[in-house]
Amino acid sequence: MKNFFHKPIKYTYLYIDAWFNFAFGTKNNPLYHLGSLAFFMLWIVLISGLYIFIIFDTSITGAFQSVEYMTNEQWYLGGVMRSLHRYASDATLVVVLLHIIREFSLDRYRGFRWFSWFTGTPNLWLIVLLGISGYWLVWDQLAQYVAIGSSQLLDALPIFSGAMSRNFLVGNLSDRFFTLMAFVHLLGLPVMLVFGLWIHVKRLTKVEVFVPKTLAIGSFLALLILSLVKPAISHAQADLTIIPTLLNLDWYYLNVYPLLDYFTAGETWILTIGISTLLMLMPWLPIKRTPPAVVVDLNNCNGCSQCFDDCPFDAISMQARTDGARWKMEPVVDPNLCAACGICVGSCPYSNPSRRSEVKLATGIDLPEQPIHQIRTATKTALTELSSSKVKILIFGCSHGVNLTEINAPDVAIITLPCTGMLPPAFIDYTLQRGADGVLISGCRSQDCYYRFGNHWLEQRIKGDRTPILAKRVNREKFDFVGYAETDEAQLLQNIATIRQRITEGQG
């Protein structure tokens, strides 16, 4: 049932993703950097906000005038800063929403990923509250509308005594209220957001905080041009004797307020909290099983810490050796954090299939459900099955890219791994030495590994930039490493055909 709804969404996303890959290249595809793009937008918001704060007057009478001054008198700097502040804030929210859509489309929010998804929702609230409090400070008629609407919502909560809305009647509003709002917008919410974002990425390693330079330049230029072409402007000054009528709402941030014209404040709370709660509970609708965590075998571990370096989800830590061996350190796995991707298995120097070829291959860290010995056995079996074929192609594929089970060719054998990052490079050498004519490694799309770094680490290992490296003697012409998504089956078949042709020509 879930697949019925999910598959069209996923495929739509993947086609858009492919379009962006063509336009921007995989390294600069904005969809692969939505988190860091949001950070980048927040940097623009922060820097432009600091400049605005210099000019801004936190009083009822001064707020509007100071914003008007920077918009009109100092349009070339203050006005641009204000517009950058506005549009970068909007872009932050759009990027965050795209981030949510992307993770949902690719089913990267359930199982071991529940924590990041769950803790992301409060951050969305904080970002929206930051935007709302920002609009409030301008003290134009839009701010008046927002202030009264917000007060109505707060009055509906059993927290505040007295009707806050009464503050916004003629003669009741004081500068102190503005000082409070400025504090909330400039310090309170930003500090909470920084803390919230830290929690959000707590279970990830090597978090990309800075967006690639090309993307940063492009995004900033686009925002700057927008700020010059369509500068942010205010509504008329707030007037508590009238009701604002026609409003140019910022629908990204202020979409909740029109609801107050159709529902009571209490109903509006139930609706928004209900949607947020549903969003937070998505990882359990339905539950996704994560396979058992990797297990450390100290008899085959020299404490090199490569598994610790490679783990994308902070599931491995290093501690002092406990078994009396001569090595200093040993890895410890937190099963609650482990994604069972097997990347650590691929990084372990003991995962070499040529070791102890006649007995069970044991390694320093292994997946209980698909141990490295089983992969070596499957490789041997596949090569035996291909032995009568003129061309022998072995594919090591990940279970999150192209659906390899649909590839049916007599000269092709397939071994599926949780992630290509689990494949120790020595397996390429082992497979070719044992009679394969060609090896194809098929991972997720480049830069878009389901387990974050699997295909990236393997690429580095093959290049010799990361241990364990692929032996230099291995003929690079005899294997390919490609990255495809579910929608790229035709391209994978084309790759197989090319390899087949290359092998046939070589044999001829």
Binding site: R166, I225, L246
Partner: protein, 167 residues
């Protein structure tokens, strides 16, 4: 050729993104109030009168109390509910009874109610009863007024200043 095309596509993508950012940051415009409407706000904070009169304690009651608590008068904590009626052109605009807040019902009530009404000439009658001992509304006020588009008319209530105040 391919690089040039990619740059063009990037510009197109950035342009679409910025167009979306800009458009929904100001549009579509939202009409919060129809051109033929004004708004009346009823806003006040008020505590109803005690639910019954204060009375003198009997000598027996006083003797039963600790010496430091022998206040000769005893007054009920609980407040009366507040009944409010607004009639616009003799039609009920708002009729409500607010129960006193607090565990012992000894707090006041805070009222903020907003009504969108048609513009033009109107008669507004305001009534409030804040004592269970009163037979009828003990605060009554009436105004004839002309509301213009987008006008905000505030009805305040302060018992110590005579009751309703329209501004």
């Amino acid at each position: 050729m391919k690089t040039g095309l990619r740059y063009i596509l990037q510009i197109v993508n950035y342009s679409i993104f910025m167009l979306i950012i800009w458009y929904f940051s100001v549009a579509p415009a939202y009409n919060h109030l129809a051109p033929c409407q004004a708004v009346i706000v009823l806003a006040f904070g008020h505590a109803g009168q005690p639910i019954s009169e204060c009375r003198k304690r009997t000598p027996e009651e006083l003797a039963a109390l600790p010496p430091n608590m022998r206040n000769p008068m005893v007054c009920p904590r609980e407040r009366s509910p507040i009944e409010v009626e607004l009639l616009l052109d003799d039609q009920p605009l708002f009729v409500e009874t607010f129960s006193p807040q607090g565990v012992s019902g000894d707090w006041g009530v805070d009222v903020y109610q907003k009504f969108k009404v048609p513009i033009g000439q109107h008669n507004l009658k305001m009534r409030l009863k804040d004592s269970v001992r009163a037979k009828d509304f003990n605060y009554v006020h009436e105004v004839d007024m002309e509301l213009i588009a987008a006008q905000l008319l505030v009805i305040d209530f302060q018992a110590d200043k005579g009751g309703f105040n329209v501004k």
